[in-house]
């Protein structure tokens, strides 16, 4: 089996994977980083969003081996010990979640947005989130949380 190695949340990791192992499977099953969720398996819902070399991507739609040599950040890599990342804190404060299933991907997309477009308008935030589907909140509080994090990040 091929060996893959990458930096995940600042730590060098490697593992042997069957060649068709998806990145999300490697993260969840090999590394036991189960914060990254699988919602649809078909690259639509966005629950599996992680950052690869600083860009958000859907980890259900690439092979683990395609991430070889990259820097991957998952939801587990955001907080600083017990201190939440400003985006996580904003989601908590504004109640930007209900069941929480979409939340890891939502937060990872939102962090990428604030890094790329720090002054995004409400409309631009909603457009950016088109690849992240939430079935509970109606997005209203998610958008409010991101607007708050624009000030705190």
């Amino acid at each position: 089996m091929p060996t893959v190695s990458m930096t995940v949340n600042g730590k060098q990791v490697s593992g042997e994977v069957e060649g068709r192992t998806l990145l999300v499977e490697f993260l969840r099953e090999n590394l036991r980083l189960t914060g990254t969720h699988v919602g649809c398996d078909t690259s639509q819902c966005g629950a599996c969003v992680v950052h690869i070399d600083g860009n958000s991507a859907k980890s259900c739609s690439m092979l683990a081996i395609q991430a070889n040599g990259t820097k991957v950040t998952t939801i587990e890599g955001l907080a600083n010990g017990d201190e939440l990342h400003p985006m996580q804190a904003a989601f908590k404060e504004h109640h930007g979640l209900q069941c929480g299933f979409c939340t890891p991907g939502m937060v990872m997309s939102a962090v990428d947005l604030v890094k790329k477009k720090p002054k995004a308008s409400e409309h631009e935030i909603r457009e950016w989130l088109e690849g992240n589907i939430c079935r509970c909140t109606g997005y209203h509080n998610i958008v409010k949380a991101i607007q708050h994090a624009q000030q705190t990040m």
């Binding site: 078909t42 860009n55 991507a57 739609s61």
Partner: protein, 280 residues
């Protein structure tokens, strides 16, 4: 277990493709969703490390070369002439941000979905595709590359390496309109892309209109294009006749029925021409 290769040199990729059975993988945004319920034991050739497939470059003759591995995000962020405004608009309609970050122009063309957002704007820019194999390269107009639903002229030993936009088509204004059942993250019911080239006094000298998702492969509208030549740009939309859309072959499916698609195509063509007339 089947092989996985990610060559760094084009000649190595082409030598690999000379053997049968390799599946080419780039952004993977169509590849993986098609393999959720079954994972075939296929050999994968990952082309994302090939530098020949990267970058958007202005050529000596004034044309543009887009590497087949250029992502939709790279199209959105590139400094491109106004003729490419329709292509950029289409790039923003391909999935969400994460799909735009991974999905490539070449993948969109080779996947050959009738509803591929990239195809009508590239048709309206007179795009040609560059295909390479171990025995040489050839170029084809995009309209002769995509032959039908999931069907292209690419031979199994050929790799799509670049899309070329010739200089004359870049001396134009471009637009892209898409109709889906909702605003975001939606598969198209109808798409229309167009570019118009005009004289300083607003006379149309070249028109390139393309309609997607209304036939097995997106098509140009040659009868309408001919009718537009010589007209003032402000009267472009008035030139549209129902017969100009006779070559469309829309189907009934879960997204829309054929008469609706035909009606919507006429509406979007008219809107596209009106928007092009207003563009400076």
């Amino acid at each position: 277990m089947a092989a996985y290769l990610r060559p760094k040199r084009l000649e190595d990729a082409l030598a690999t493709m000379a053997e049968p059975g390799w599946v080419v993988l780039a952004g993977g945004t169509d590849h993986f969703p098609a393999r959720v319920t079954h994972t075939p034991d296929e050999a994968i050739l990952d082309v994302t490390a090939l530098s020949e497939l990267k970058g958007i470059d202005r050529m000596a003759d004034g044309g543009l070369r887009l590497g087949a591995g250029v992502t939709w995000t790279e199209v959105i962020e590139a400094a491109l002439p106004p003729a490419c405004d329709g292509l950029k608009a289409a790039a923003r309609e391909v999935g969400g941000v994460q799909i735009q970050n991974r999905g490539t122009i070449g993948g969109n063309l080779c996947n050959a979905s009738p509803a591929a957002d990239g195809v009508p704007p590239l048709l309206s820019l007179d795009a040609e595709v560059e295909l390479a194999s171990a025995s040489g390269t050839r170029r084809l107009p995009l309209g002769r590359f995509i032959l039908g639903n999931r069907h292209t002229a690419r031979r199994s030993n050929e790799l799509l390496v670049a899309v070329h936009l010739p200089a004359p088509a870049l001396e134009a204004t471009g637009r892209f309109l898409k109709l889906g059942a909702r605003r975001y993250l939606v598969i198209s019911i109808v798409m229309v892309a167009g570019t118009l080239s005009r004289t300083a006094d607003g006379t149309i000298v070249a028109a390139r209109l393309a309609v997607g998702a209304c036939s097995a492969a997106a098509v140009r509208l040659p009868a309408l294009e001919a009718a537009l030549i010589g007209r003032p740009v402000t009267e472009a939309a008035a030139a549209l006749q129902p017969s100009h859309l006779d070559l469309l072959r829309p189907i009934d499916d879960g997204r829309a029925d054929a008469p609706y698609r035909r009606h919507a195509a006429a509406t979007l063509v008219r809107r596209c021409l009106n928007e092009l007339a207003r563009a400076a």
